[in-house]
Symmetry: C2
Subunit: 311 residues, 2 copies
């Protein structure tokens, strides 16, 4: 591999001048520029990206920690992040966590080692306080409401739309309202937000026989369908449109009368089923998160979510 010093020697100019040519800077006479460019061509010279990063002190890369790679929540978020990153000249590195705090810590350590310029946690299993402490290593962004913890965050304001959604359910006269949560509300901010809204609006916390914990995809919806059917739910509020569809299918295939249904994420499936859903605008959240990670914006960015009622 030929390097910048080879070019300098071969062309008869200094490394500084070659560097100037390389970076299209001023103060190089046209003749010299041409000559050096020719030599670079001849020696098939390519500047080394890693050396550049080392020298410049940044990588123009943002790490994105995500629990699941192929899941609509993460996919949409990543799309927003990637899109904004591209516009800003950053690249995005995917860091799978599988909800493992150990892995999350490993990625924070990488941030500390300057492997990337910033780190976005699309979800996190570590305590938020620990993540906040890691800001000493570099820009860290979370995608959930950090509460009183001081840390850059981009997230949807779920409460407003959750309240709206439950009010809608209540008004429709449903009595036994089932709730599907992605994970235990003790560890999942999303789940606890749903429980809280349920409790506030309906007037009581969801009963155990109306609460399903651990739903990520369609197949979970089918399993949950059996659970809710057995427990006589007349409404099921799922944590995703595909999941709601799973519930729907269970009832239908077993020729049971369908309960009321509501999903989240505003995917194709809820439109198909004609059920209500909530659009959390994760794409916008992703864009905001990227802006925070690069330092283009600071503080906390709350994005409104929309309750989409369908009769």
């Amino acid at each position: 591999m030929t390097n910048i010093r080879d070019i300098a020697r071969e062309s008869g100019y200094s490394v500084s001048t070659v560097s100037r040519v390389l970076n299209h800077k001023k103060y190089v006479s046209p003749a010299v520029r041409d000559h050096i460019e020719q030599v670079m061509q001849q020696l098939n010279y390519v500047p080394n990206a890693v050396a550049r990063d080392l020298s410049s002190g940044h990588t123009k890369t943002i790490g994105v920690a995500l629990a699941m790679v192929a899941h609509p929540y993460y996919t949409t978020l990543v799309k927003g992040i990637t899109e904004a990153a591209f516009e800003e000249g950053y690249q995005v590195t995917l860091l799978p966590t599988d909800y493992d705090a150990k892995l999350e810590r490993r990625y924070l350590e990488q941030l500390r080692q300057h492997a990337f310029d910033g780190l976005i946690f699309t979800s996190h299993s570590m305590p938020i306080s620990e993540i906040a402490a890691a800001q000493a290593f570099g820009p860290v962004v979370v995608c959930q409401d950090p509460g009183s913890v001081t840390i850059p965050a981009a997230f949807t304001d779920r409460q407003a739309s959750y309240h709206e959604a439950f009010a809608w359910i209540k008004q429709a006269g449903y009595q036994r309202i089932g709730l599907m949560l992605p994970r235990d509300p003790k560890v999942s901010a999303t789940a606890s937000a749903m429980v809280q809204a349920y409790t506030n609006v309906i007037g009581a916390a969801p009963a155990a026989d109306l609460t399903w914990i651990g739903s990520m995809a369609y197949a979970d919806g089918r399993k949950a369908g059996a659970f809710f059917a057995a427990n006589g739910a007349d409404f099921v509020f799922a944590n995703g449109d595909d999941i709601a569809m799973g519930v729907h299918d269970y009832y239908q295939q077993n020729h049971l009368p369908l309960p009321g249904l509501m999903g989240q994420e505003n995917q194709v499936s809820s439109a198909l089923l004609g059920i209500s859903t909530i659009d959390h605008h994760f794409h916008a959240v992703g864009r905001a998160a990227l802006a925070l990670a690069t330092g283009a914006k600071t503080g906390q960015i709350k994005i409104a979510s929309d309750f989409i009622a369908r009769p």
Copy 2:
């Protein structure tokens, strides 16, 4: 930022010894090791990842060029890639192309500059011959059948399942079989494979009034539905389950008699509609592509796809 030389000076040992401690190498006496570790602790030392990459000559990063970030084909592929990468100690950087050959070239240039150790094209708009030529820059992998071009490739053997699918359609007695293609078959290998199978099995190339070009997602399916309804198709073979669902919805909402339908990708939606589909096993393709990009495997890896018939 304190560096390895600071540690050497402060501890009274040489840089080499500190490096040995850092990398848990043999030939450091326990006492010295302890002492140096203590100094590193005190000075809050963290090795610089970029300097390491520069020195070691690799980044342990694989670039993944993809046309669309939030699309089931790419998502599934990326999941397979990421999963395998994690196991092998590699990281994955997402490189959005939006089907733009210019961007693809830019990423090849980055490979040349050693920004990553390998590059996977999940799809490509550049001519394959040009990509093959770029192998001089480093490992480049494509995810489509490269034909006679010599380049590492991981892809699904679509022909077998496409043939099976069309044979199934033919046997069912359909006469006006509509075909939905993601892009122009002149530029898309996937599209041309579909056209070829259609032609072989049905006995004639798909007519213009039965061919829809440019379908990526559900919404395109709805548009195509109008097209096929107007042209009297009695069957529609879509290039995705969600797309097929779009077609289905168009017919249903306009109270038209449903045509036969078939999708691809074996997603939730085809199961819901009870229509046939093809599972291309993109997850496995992704894993194979990663193995090729790291050099763990070589050559071309063809993965069988499955035709899933549903009455």
